[in-house]
Symmetry: C2
Subunit: 306 residues, 2 copies
């Protein structure tokens, strides 16, 4: 029997890494020589999940060729996969995305419109009567929490929720507290300098009336971001001076509650107050239901420049 | 919730009809308004299976349109499906053939390299904890027996065999005797005239040395075919005279044992003896391991014409 290479998509998220490990484990239990790989560096959230359940990171795979038997998880498109994928023998696909696929013979291909690949994998374990240990269970749970943003994402289904409950009980964790800790780990910026924090995702804009910058970071715990308010303000002030900005808006977006807490500074910081109908207090304000820079923050500001 | 139209391929076989009924039943158990349809007349084998388990034939579906939610079973190619399929909303696919498929959103799509769609459906019932009654069980068993030729086909897998055993015990039938009876019903020619029997699948060939015809029928019970030998010979003789043939070979092919029993008649019937290294006795002979007209019968005869 040929070795089976199991991997997710490039720029791997927690589902891609976890599902690779979980599916390779299932195939080994079914008698295959299966090994999980990753197609890129694991992010902080995934590292937290792996560490929590004492599972080692898979090796990185740089290419496959015509000698390789392959299982694709969490994706089915060659453009998101490893170099050489078009030459490999794709034996299995487990996915939850749209389909664009063609084979010359029947293969094992499962995709379902659920929030997470691991939700499907849980059912495959059950179908094959393969026991799910606490490590495998913890990884699947982590993947579901990640893909569904702790069940808040519109892609989350009842199946994802129900299976997450079962997995949490096997893994012996409280979904809510573990989930928040894991998502928080993914948004951890504690090892970033204030300058790095405000430049994680920052864009400069200008029109005839003003020159300004909007910076955004994702967060689970807004308090931990704002515990660094004074040093963030120092970095923002430096940017304003160096770039000769009229104002600067830094937004920490709470991915679970869909709100953003901002710091706004500069000569024309009042534009931000007008744009969102809020009053800045100690340079900060909460913007309820505001999460998108492109669709919400920027248009409101552009409409209120003077 | 929209009505779900469930159907297999055109020119339906037992798996296409049975899997449509079985999958629609599963979806109803899961809360969907699902109805099974057929895309053409049911054959004798399928009629036998439906009658055995007291299940009604599905209605025939002639077309679908953009208002229809659809589940395709036992196929995934539009060319084998109903008129209008390209406009319909394909919500689910359960299949065991090669894949050529594209969607704009995630759907429920399962295909596995097993011998029969019903083998996959059994696992879906199990996965969803939906009970399988004796009727549904009997239909799935019939589909597996049909697609795998009672486990003799090279496409048959261990899964097909194991699941067929479980289904037979629920359905309360003996696989071997029920299976042979069903396959026999599919090859039943008792209501055909001798002229119809020899013309079910007959082809005329000629070269400079001879003009001949090879006719083939599938059979489970060769004896029942040859109980009509004298009237078949009468019909064959008429063909020889009317078409001025040098010889005529009629082959009844035993689909379970991969042999053919022939009747060969005409002035140059000795060609057949030479072609297969046999001696005709009472115009008949057994050709062991000969099943294909195109790949075995015709080349052997063409190589021995004189």
């Amino acid at each position: 029997m040929n070795k089976l290479y199991v991997f997710g998509h490039s720029n791997p998220d927690t589902d891609s890494i976890a599902s690779s490990i979980v599916f390779a484990n299932l195939q080994r239990a079914l008698g295959y020589d299966a090994t999980a790989y990753k197609l890129g560096e694991t992010n902080k959230e995934t590292k937290y999940a792996l560490k929590s359940f004492k599972v080692e990171e898979p090796q990185t795979l740089s290419s496959v060729d015509e000698t390789c038997d392959v299982a694709m998880v969490d994706n089915n498109e060659f453009s998101q996969s490893v170099s050489g994928i078009e030459k490999a023998h794709i034996k299995m696909v487990v996915d939850h995305h749209k389909i664009k696929f063609e084979t010359v013979e029947p293969i094992f291909y499962i995709t379902e419109p659920v929030g997470c690949t691991s939700t499907i994998l849980y059912k495959l374990y059950r179908q094959n009567d393969i026991q799910i240990d606490s490590q495998i269970s913890g990884l699947m749970l982590s993947a579901i929490i990640s893909d569904t943003l702790l069940f808040k994402s519109p892609t989350c289904t009842d199946q994802d929720k129900q299976i997450a409950q079962k997995l949490a009980s096997i893994a012996g964790v409280d979904i809510d507290s573990y989930g928040k800790d894991m998502l928080k780990a993914g948004t951890d910026i504690s090892d970033f300098t204030p300058f790095q924090v405000i430049n994680i995702d920052s864009k400069e804009f200008s029109d005839k009336n003003a020159r300004f910058e909007i910076s955004q970071v994702n967060a689970v715990d807004l308090d931990s971001v704002f515990s660094r308010q004074s040093e963030l303000e120092e970095a923002i002030n430096k940017e304003i001076q160096e770039k000769n900005l009229d104002f600067y808006m830094f937004a920490a977006t709470d991915i679970l509650n869909a709100n953003s807490k901002i710091i706004a500074m500069g000569n024309k910081a009042k534009t931000v107050e007008k744009a969102f109908g809020i009053s800045l207090s100690n340079n900060t304000a909460m913007l309820n239901n505001v999460v998108s820079r492109k669709k919400q923050m920027l248009p409101n500001i552009l409409n209120n420049l003077d």
